[in-house]
């Protein structure tokens, strides 16, 4: 919905507790638009640098656009501290397992479905490792009506990269993708490389999946991050437009 200055608007945001993977109680950031009626919803899969301020801002951004938005703390089990300190600990441990991430994201969707103001249409969005986790959750579960993968690396994995935490290359799960997929990528990225993006797209096409991929010249990894040198203004603005157009198409009511 186009914002006009005569609108009354509001967003309520707070930390909540939800059930994640294995029934663990974890915390999450919930932001929802005020107003009557029911809204579509979004789950945000935070990036490798952690459950940080940027993901709170993304939550506000989606809520402002009319989506009840939750961002689970997928690093909850590593303990508490600044987002950087916690993320550094997780980095040293080789990241969270795919099973843990998917469990937390599915749990976030389940939480949203308990809210009386959610209309039942739920999307998932993630950047960096969160983009990969968003794709995984859309393949491993049927909780989502739309998935958005922004430059998720290691979707295409070689056998030597597989381990106990990441036992399957997400590419091999494409057959199980349960909703439309939007992919946003920078052509200067090294993870995923343009060749890996092409490989993923070929698999989606072969399996007749509903998807749209957008590739940007002059952009690398993380080009939405206004607080990093990777930020690319024009590409980021266009990318966000693609994100919200995709949401309006597959998550109506926002």
């Amino acid at each position: 919905m186009q914002y006009t200055t005569d609108m009354n608007e509001g967003v309520h945001a707070e930390t909540v507790t939800m059930l994640g993977a294995n029934g663990d109680r974890i915390n999450a950031f919930l932001a929802h638009p005020l107003g009557e009626g029911k809204f579509p919803a979004m789950v945000l899969a935070h990036h490798m640098p952690g459950w940080d301020l940027l993901y709170r801002e993304f939550a506000y951004k989606f809520a402002h656009r009319g989506y009840v938005t939750i961002s689970p703390n997928m690093y909850f089990r590593a303990g508490h501290g600044t987002p950087e300190d916690v993320a550094a600990k997780v980095r040293a441990e080789g990241g969270v397992s795919d099973a843990s991430a998917v469990g937390d994201l599915a749990g976030a969707a389940n939480y949203l479905n308990t809210l009386p103001y959610v209309n039942g249409r739920i999307g998932i969005f993630g950047t960096c490792s969160g983009g990969r986790h968003a794709f995984l959750a859309a393949c491993r579960t049927t909780n989502f009506n739309a998935a958005i993968d922004c430059w998720g690396g290691r979707v295409v994995m070689t056998p030597d990269q597989l381990n106990e935490k990441t036992p399957v290359s997400p590419l091999d799960l494409t057959k199980d993708l349960s909703c439309p997929l939007l992919g946003i990528f920078g052509n200067d990225d090294t993870s995923p490389t343009p060749e890996q993006v092409n490989q993923h797209e070929a698999e989606l096409k072969k399996l007749n999946k509903t998807y749209e991929f957008h590739r940007y010249d002059g952009a690398g990894h993380g080009f939405f991050y206004y607080n990093r040198p990777a930020y690319r203004q024009a590409q980021a603005m266009d990318g966000w437009e693609k994100v919200f157009a995709f949401c309006e198409k597959y998550l109506p009511g926002g």
């Binding site: 501290g81 916690v86 980095r91 040293a92 080789g94 990269q161 993380g222």
Partner: protein, 95 residues
């Protein structure tokens, strides 16, 4: 995590973090996204003491060239110290 390149090594020594000095028990060395350095990937070293929680951390994020120079410099300093007969095997307990 995007590169997932990380190695851990047990160490002893002390580090000064946000809350002052603490005993170090491990260094985590990764080549992955830094939190602050203006690079897509950096050589990150976290000197930590896991028993004191995630905040017991001294962090550095280095460019590849800086990291290589640092390694050479550390080794050069240790060689000089060894040549001068100054090396000690262990840090004193109880710091």
């Amino acid at each position: 995590m995007c590169t997932m390149i990380v190695e851990k090594v047990k160490i002893d020594g002390c580090g000064k973090g946000a809350s002052g000095w603490f005993n170090l028990e491990q260094a985590n060395v990764s080549y992955d996204h830094p939190f602050n350095a203006p690079m897509e990937h950096a050589l990150n070293i976290d000197f930590v003491n896991a028993s004191q929680g995630p905040s017991a951390r001294v962090a550095v994020e280095l460019s590849e060239s800086a990291a290589r120079e640092l390694v050479k410099t550390i080794l050069a300093v240790l060689d000089q110290a060894e040549a001068g007969g100054h090396l000690e095997n262990k840090i004193s307990a109880g710091i």
